[in-house]
């Protein structure tokens, strides 16, 4: 087993922009389907399920999941895993309102774990803005990218 110091370092991707290019709208129809898929009814006041913090930012960021992996020189077929996810809301999400995403990769760090062997830990931050430009939420997610070829 190679020592971590002997392995090539993770690609330097910190600062890569994840700004979205297209607005994202949570439709009332999709919100209802998502709510029911988790065992609850949609709210009657026009608010969207708060888990759209993740859905909206992932869908409307400037890269697809596969694209983020490619930036990290990781094949999406090798199975990125969610490590953690955090969110801070400044306002509730609403259906049928356009939002846009800004964000960036914070870091990509190569580590060794007992369970997964060599892995890269990707940390990125996304913000969701309303039509007036106000920040509605900020989320920071960590993905684990297992580097089987280096294990």
């Amino acid at each position: 087993m190679a020592d971590l110091a002997e392995l090539p370092s993770a690609p330097d991707v910190a600062g890569t922009s994840l700004d979205g290019t297209e607005p994202y709208v949570i439709t009332a129809e999709e919100n209802a389907a998502l709510c029911r898929s988790t065992g609850v009814e949609p709210a009657a006041d026009g608010s969207a399920h708060p888990v759209y913090y993740y859905v909206a930012t992932q869908v409307a960021m400037g890269k697809t999941v596969a694209g983020v992996c490619e930036t990290c020189r990781f094949d999406v077929e090798d199975g990125p895993m969610m490590g953690s996810s955090g969110v801070s809301f400044q306002a509730p999400l609403k259906v049928d309102h356009p939002y846009r995403v800004t964000g960036e990769i914070l870091s990509l760090v190569r580590k060794r774990s007992r369970k997964l062997g060599v892995m890269d830990v990707l940390d990125y931050r996304l913000r969701l803005h309303d039509q007036a430009g106000a920040t509605v939420l900020e989320t920071t997610n960590v993905w684990v990218l297992p580097r089987k070829e280096l294990a």
Binding site: G39, P50, S84
Partner: protein
């Protein structure tokens, strides 16, 4: 009114549905086959059932919080993914109040799978003075 040390009423998911995973693949624009094709899960050595999307598991925790604090808003939440959730799992989303200050209720939260223990741990802040 809940206070520090009180347990939140659990939110139960009787059976994680593979049909819901197909819907979430569309919601997330993410056709990762580990959520859709059990043969891929087996080939990757990840088990013998399709794996639920992580954000769907977060949604169960949010449902638990929204039911425990009607009319309030989740202002912050942190989730750490400890283990996979599989099709057919019975889940319990739960939590405990750790502090109450002004209109902010801090909670420890967790998602447990029957027979396998905790799959998500985390924390949340619920604002009982919900933003407009």
């Amino acid at each position: 009114m809940l206070g520090a040390g009180d347990e939140l009423p659990p939110f139960i998911i009787e059976r994680v549905s593979p049909e819901a995973m197909k819907a979430w693949a569309v919601f997330l624009h993410d056709p990762n086959p580990i959520h859709l094709d059990v043969e891929v899960v087996k080939a990757k050595g990840l088990g013998d059932r399709v794996i639920n999307q992580g954000p769907a598991n977060v949604a169960y925790l949010m449902n638990m919080l929204m039911a425990a604090f009607p009319g309030a808003a989740i202002s912050k939440m942190e989730s750490r993914f400890v283990d996979n959730v599989y099709a057919g799992d019975r889940l319990t989303a739960g939590g405990r109040v750790t502090s109450v200050e002004g209109g902010a209720v801090q909670c420890d939260i967790w998602l447990r799978a029957d027979g396998r223990d905790v799959v998500i741990t985390g924390s949340a802040t619920v604002s009982t003075c919900a933003p407009a």
